[in-house]
């Protein structure tokens, strides 16, 4: 088994104001998806959601900008760590991620271990 990080990306949509019901639905689909991975004993870490509002980007020469994004509209809003036999299996797990239905995407990246030369 190898560990993979799922990096969740979404685009900023300031006009999107979900109703409490919609929020509830989003929560439910996330916990079901994560629960499904954990039920296969393939979840390594829940990971974390990352804040959009409390965010700064630090650049050389003490340039500090607001938010995680300057040039791109897309931002990372969280990550989760899973284990899978290979990247194909990891991709299968990611296919049901609820973010895909909300205009976002999942980047799957293997965690580099000392045995890796790549």
């Amino acid at each position: 088994m190898k560990e993979f990080v799922f990096i969740f990306r979404n685009s900023d949509n300031p006009n999107f104001k979900p109703s409490p019901e919609q929020m509830q639905q989003v929560m439910t689909s996330w916990t079901n998806w994560m629960g499904g991975i954990a039920a296969q004993n393939k979840l390594v870490s829940n990971g974390n959601r990352l804040s959009m509002s409390i965010a700064k980007t630090i650049k050389p020469n003490n340039v500090i900008t607001d938010g995680p994004y300057t040039e791109i509209k897309e931002f990372i809003n969280g990550y989760t760590i899973v284990k899978a036999a290979n990247i194909k299996e990891a991709v299968e797990l990611a296919k049901d991620c609820p973010i895909l239905k909300m205009g976002g995407n999942v980047e799957v990246r293997a965690i580099v271990t000392p045995d890796d030369n790549s």
Partner: protein, 419 residues
Amino acid sequence: MVEVESIDNNLLPHLFRTEYTKMIAVICHLFGMQHIELAEDIASDTFLKATEIWSLKGIPENPIAWLYTVAKNKTKDYLKRNVFFEKEILPNIKAENLEYYETNIDFTEQNIKDSQLAMIFAVCDPANSQEAQICLALQILCGFSLEDIANAFLSNKETIKKRLQRARENLRRQHFEIQNLDPTEILLRLDAVITTLYLLFNEGYFSRSNDKLIRKDLCSEAMRLTFTLTENAMTNTGKVNALLALQCFQSSRLDARVSASEETVLFDEQDKNLWNTELINKGNYYLVEACSKDELSKYHLEASIAYWHTTADDNEKWKYILPLYNQLILVEYSPITALNRTFAFSKVYGNEKAIAEAEKLNLQINHYYHSLLGYLYSPIDTDKAIRHFRQSISLTNSDVEKKQLSKTIYRLEKDTQSL
């Protein structure tokens, strides 16, 4: 206090069950775990004397007080003149301390409680395997005989005896400071204690033994010990309360769960009038206690799931149970939790979606996995359902389950033929 007249013949066995382990706890608490055999001798001698005297002179007015007076005197005798004491303990006791020990042979209610609590922590030593800890707990804390323990584990007396000997040897080597149990030690070991009590209860609830009485005894002893933990401020934690709530909810169904012919009655087929409402209310109380403490553990989640099962059996409850299983499986993976979660999933999203979830679980060698798939396929594809039930039969060791699964297959076959 015991009503002597009504249980004349059963009085001694009854007192043995309730007081024997208390005596041992108090004596061990005073002299240390390494002298547990001495404590057992004193307690046994006390009951031997009771058998002799009571059969001649009748039962004393206050049998329990009588027993403790005898136990106290016997302990004093040992202190004064026993060779064992001179060799083993006296060198470590200065002359002025002898009086300390003599005056501290204390069988008051409070000291019994403190001693029992200390014993629980001494017995649940991670130096022993979980199964060995449970055996020790049954013997030392619950006063079960070798035979009782062998029955509970569907094992033989000789195997259990050897396991206990090894476990006691390990305990002796650990030099656990039972005399002055300090808060740090308690905090360090509390999780191990909770796990053992959780497993002890499960041993009764999902017992390998079909003996209804043994199963009930195991459950109620586990609850008694867990209750002891809630009585001490140091151990009255959220997890402990959650565990006790879980035990209350589960045991509220003990009577409904076993049929007259000692077969397990499945949840949906249970007579809800047989559920014990007093225990359900107690469970509610401890669950609220558990949740008022700032903590969330698998015991909280399991107790919450068990709580929903005590509510009316409308399908609404599954909407609340599934997220709890989703959380539980994140806290701790186990095949049975994965399967239970999938069952709850089927109740919310239907069998077809649940089958897709189930088939990802990779538990082909688990008989519950095939039982679950058999259940999920039953309304969709009878052939597949039967195939899974057959696989489940070939994988389980339990005759009771085999019988139940065969019945289910028979029913499915009959239904298809009548179509």
